[in-house]
């Protein structure tokens, strides 16, 4: 393809894909392939193979339901929301968990992620030690650059709640870093 879709905005590509341009959807796929799986893996600490399965399903659903994408929020937020719904459905089915809050409780902080000083360089360990309800908005905001409004929409909470969770996540990370013996 020789037009400008190589650097085109996600929303433009999504609009073209809605009009039937498979190439535009392929561009989106190339741009965000792997992101949903990594988001699920980081946020819900799912098995990575399961995360990849869910990502594949999310891409399929995104393609099939492109008509329902209105472009009011970033495409990646929409895609991640699809992946999140699929993951929560699967987790509910597997664990018979009725709500994400239970998932948060089930995937609580690690026993002691800061036993060694080297842990301070293992940022992934520190973030994974966060409670799930704080970890997920932190991942969405930090890694995927979602705006606060998109984070709140994706989590199904108010912006003030999302903002508060992000603040608490940073506070906990600060305490975790400070707990490392100097």
């Amino acid at each position: 393809m020789s037009d400008a879709t190589g650097d085109a905005a996600d929303e433009l590509l999504a609009a073209r894909a809605k009009e039937g341009c498979r190439d535009s959807f392929a561009r989106l796929y190339e741009r965000y392939r792997g992101s949903p799986a990594r988001y699920l893996y980081e946020s819900f600490r799912t098995d990575f193979d399961a995360a990849l399965d869910i990502e594949a399903e999310a891409w399929r659903k995104a393609y099939e339901n492109l008509a329902s994408y209105r472009g009011e929020r970033p495409f990646r937020a929409w895609l991640l929301a699809i992946a999140r719904n699929l993951a929560l459905n699967r987790i509910r089915h597997d664990r018979r968990a009725p709500a994400p809050e239970i998932l948060a409780a089930a995937t609580g902080p690690a026993a002691d992620p800061l036993e060694r000083r080297e842990a301070i360089d293992q940022c992934i360990r520190l973030v994974r030690a966060l409670p799930a309800e704080l970890r997920e908005p932190f991942v969405l905001r930090t890694v995927f650059d979602l705006e606060l409004r998109s984070v709140a929409e994706l989590l199904g909470v108010r912006e003030s709640t999302a903002r508060g969770r992000l603040f608490r996540a940073r506070k906990l990370l600060t305490e975790a870093v400070r707990a490392v013996p100097r």
């Binding site: 940022c123 930090t142 940073r170």
Partner: protein, 156 residues
Amino acid sequence: MTCDELQAEFSRALDEGGSLAPYERHVAACSECSDFADAALELASRYRAQVLRGIDRLRCPSPTLVPRGPGVRRLLPLAAAILVLVSVPLRPAPPPERPVPTAAAHVPLFDGMHLVPEDLGLAVAVDPPLPRRLDHDLPPLLEGDPSVLLPPDLRF
């Protein structure tokens, strides 16, 4: 404003695209807020980089699934040498005798051709049983045949 309130404002500025300049002076002087800023900026940046590297690795998988260490690579020439030594006999085998051409090597194309048992050996080079030139058995071109002559005014 307490440190906790300042950190909340700092966090809000991070999430809503506000400027961090108003907090710089306090953060530079306060170890607690400095740690908070480090976690909010540096740790977050490193975490982001690690996760994005993981996504890149996922998008560009290595062609070799099982990496071979340098030790294994060092042994490859030795293994090849052993393989060659095992496969080569100590005494060179005598060269195969060149078979005497038989009459079957001169039979015309498709006409009376038959294989003799000696010709079935794979390792023995024999003269081809077919004529070397396929046009041996074709009728000669007729001089002046208009069906095969090119027009005299044709130029390449």
